[in-house]
């Protein structure tokens, strides 16, 4: 996970107190949780340096998750767009249908080593919830998933899946009933049940060490792309495009390339009805620095510092914040951040499905949409990788509704 990191590397962050750059990240939580975060930090440092842990994780990633995921040359889409050579990193082929299981597998093994018996997690679209419920079934752990009531409604198949897996799904009615509110509720559960409970965070946000730890577990994506692109083309990719809600799939594919300046990294935020519509989830492009859910990062907020509701057609991107490392990469200019609207994502969802026979998650469709936009402007020598972070089966009801089709 850490091989190849140099002294002056962009990959060395965060510092010991969990900060990226000028005060981003950190640990902004109630005192009750501070000792637990310090304990988690220590426990993670230990397993990070333990070859036996890596061996165990590698075993589960290969035989249970189904890694490595293929790097697919999307020839039909490439021909259709007439520009950059498009590759797709097939995270949707992982067990449970998204990249989420990479991180969840790492954290559940850590939680077991820490002697915890009960897992709480937050989920938006349900991908992280399903992944968490899956490993809890695998290892016989008690599992409680907090999910916004609105998301429970729009992601019924995933709710049913989690229940089948033995998880308790708790609908959260506070706020708009989306991911932000589920995150608050999961933190409340954790603070009330610290003795046996592990909080399994699903994205590269939250208090230190979560942003760094989730990133490390997701970096398997970028590590594989590096090897696979070398095999396919004999060199590094030129452009990597990935969707950003909290930003875990993007951080996972970006991170191994941070020290390769020739590789353009593009994070695609959900612009919702449009970046300036007021109904958006583009925290970097339309937000500002603030403190929420244990870290300082870019947030959608009003002038009084009250957090505003995010909007996206994709429940997985519908979050008013973003991981602090993304905020840092944005501030130092190492990664670019752009917005894709609901309509553009819906269009790309269909394009990808028809051209490649791959139904992407609505989250991933945002990345596809931006690739579709820029590919024709790039030369045929350009190697562009889209991270297909999840599969779209869960989204067909949303898509059908928007297309006016009754299922």
């Amino acid at each position: 996970m850490t091989d190849g990191v140099r002294a002056n590397s962009l990959r060395n962050g965060p510092d010991a107190s969990g900060h990226f750059g000028d005060g981003l990240g950190g640990r902004f939580v109630a005192e009750t949780l501070m000792p637990l975060l310090l304990e988690l930090d220590e426990a993670y440092k230990v397993v990070k340096a333990d070859p036996a842990f890596h061996k165990e994780l590698a075993f589960y990633l290969k035989d249970y998750v189904g890694r490595p995921s293929p790097l697919w040359f999307a020839k039909r889409l490439t021909d259709e767009l007439g520009g950059a050579k498009i590759y797709m990193k097939r995270e949707e082929l992982n067990h449970t249908g998204s990249h989420k299981l990479n991180n969840v597998m790492g954290q559940i093994l850590l939680a077991r080593r820490m002697g915890r018996t009960r897992i709480v997690a937050e989920t938006g679209a349900g991908q992280h919830g399903v992944a968490t419920a899956t490993v809890c079934a695998l290892f016989g752990m008690k599992c409680v998933i907090y999910m916004g009531a609105t998301d429970v409604e729009r992601q019924m198949p995933n709710v049913f899946r989690m229940k089948l897996l033995g998880a308790e799904v708790v609908p959260v009615t506070a706020g708009a009933g989306t991911l932000k509110d589920a995150m608050n509720e999961a933190m409340r559960d954790w603070v009330a049940n610290i003795s046996d409970t592990y909080f399994l965070v699903g994205t590269v946000a939250g208090p230190h060490p979560y942003p760094a730890m989730v990133r490390d577990f997701q970096s398997v994506i970028g590590d594989e792309v590096k090897v696979q692109m070398q095999e396919a083309e004999g060199r590094l990719p030129d452009v990597i495009v990935a969707a950003i809600g909290g930003g875990s799939n993007a951080m996972g594919i970006f991170h191994p390339f941070l020290d390769d300046p020739s590789v353009r990294l593009i994070g695609v935020e959900a612009a919702g009805h449009g970046l300036d519509s007021g109904k958006t989830a583009a925290s970097i492009e339309r937000g500002s620095r603030g403190v929420l859910h244990g870290n300082r990062t870019y947030l959608l907020q009003d002038e009084n510092g009250q957090i505003t509701e995010a909007h996206s057609i994709s429940a997985g991107l519908d979050y008013p914040g973003v991981g602090p490392e993304h905020s840092w990469l944005y501030e130092i200019g190492r990664a670019e951040y752009v917005g894709i609207t609901d309509d553009e994502a819906l269009e790309a969802f269909q394009t990808c499905t028809r051209a490649e026979g791959i139904i992407p998650a609505l989250e991933s469709a945002h990345a596809v949409a931006h690739a579709v936009k820029i590919a024709p402007t790039l030369s045929p020598e350009t190697l562009l990788v889209i991270n297909i972070s999840g599969r779209g089966d869960k989204d067909i009801f949303t898509v059908a509704e928007h297309l006016g089709v009754k299922l």
């Binding site: 950190g26 603030g290 510092g305 009250q306 505003t308």
Partner: protein, 271 residues
């Protein structure tokens, strides 16, 4: 000597602990919360905590969450909150006022400007739930310059090594979060409190107030004896919420109900 130090010193003379009630700014509207604030000292408040409403109070239980939501709906902002304290100070220059809340609205307002304006309005101390000592650096200077105490939180999970770190730079008083959990849920037993206090006493000379889960006059009396003060929040807010009409507006019974409960708590604390 600060208002907080003066008040605790006076109570020590009296031989009793402090009763510290909590109200949420603009809950359910500006005038009602201002009237409540102004009536609290006469009803027995020794210090007063005012909640600064935040959209995402992740350490708070349902009662305070709803109060914050009502406050925001009624237009709570920091300038209005400072206006409340200023108006209170016109009649009461002795009762310490502590603001409790989360960091983001304060950062949005600007740390320096916040401390200057809070102090000018007559605020004495700050409790910032999601600002542990490790992240308090930027706030330290402005708060000190403005004469504001940053009141440190100690939890049952805070071990002895950490206790030293938390108490470093602490001033005003120390707030002991008596349970691992959110506000307004379960309560610590007297035995738990009696076991916890000597450890904190040994580490600081500051007064110690106990909060989280103190609901009844008996609990308030006991906590104020075991420590130096008892904070009552959710129980008062729950009473207030019960008096509101279906549109969540204040009714004629709102103030009397909360103040009656406060008097009962105060009587018990005064034993």
């Amino acid at each position: 000597m600060s208002r907080i130090a003066r008040r605790f010193a006076a109570l020590k003379q009296e031989g009793r602990g402090a009763l510290i009630p909590y109200l949420e700014a603009c809950d359910p509207d500006f005038q009602t919360s201002l009237d409540l604030l102004k009536a609290m000292p006469e009803a027995g408040a020794d210090l007063i905590e005012i909640g600064m409403p935040f959209s995402d109070p992740s350490a708070d239980g349902p009662v305070i969450q709803l109060a914050a939501r009502r406050g925001l709906k009624a237009g709570a902002t920091l300038p209005r909150l400072f206006g409340m304290v200023k108006s209170f100070r016109e009649q009461d220059n002795d009762t310490p006022v502590i603001l409790m809340g989360y960091l983001n609205p304060i950062e949005a307002y600007g740390l320096d400007r916040f401390c200057v304006d809070a102090s000018a309005a007559g605020v004495d101390g700050l409790i910032i739930v999601d600002m542990p000592p490790e992240e308090a650096g930027p706030m330290q200077g402005p708060a000190k310059a403005a004469g504001l105490d940053i009141i440190r939180l100690i939890a049952p999970t805070t071990d002895d090594n950490r206790l030293k770190l938390v108490l470093n730079h602490a001033s005003g008083f120390v707030y002991y979060v008596s349970i691992t959990g959110i506000t307004g849920t379960r309560s610590a037993s007297d035995e738990d409190l009696r076991a916890a206090l000597p450890r904190i006493r040994a580490a600081t000379d500051l007064p110690i107030a106990i909060g989280f889960g103190i609901r009844t006059p008996e609990q308030a009396a006991s906590a104020s004896r075991i420590a130096d003060g008892a904070v009552v929040a959710s129980a008062l807010l729950a009473t207030l919420a019960k008096t509101l009409d279906p549109g969540e507006q204040a009714t004629p019974s709102t103030l009397p109900s909360v103040l009656t409960q406060l008097r009962e708590l105060a009587a018990a604390v005064r034993g």
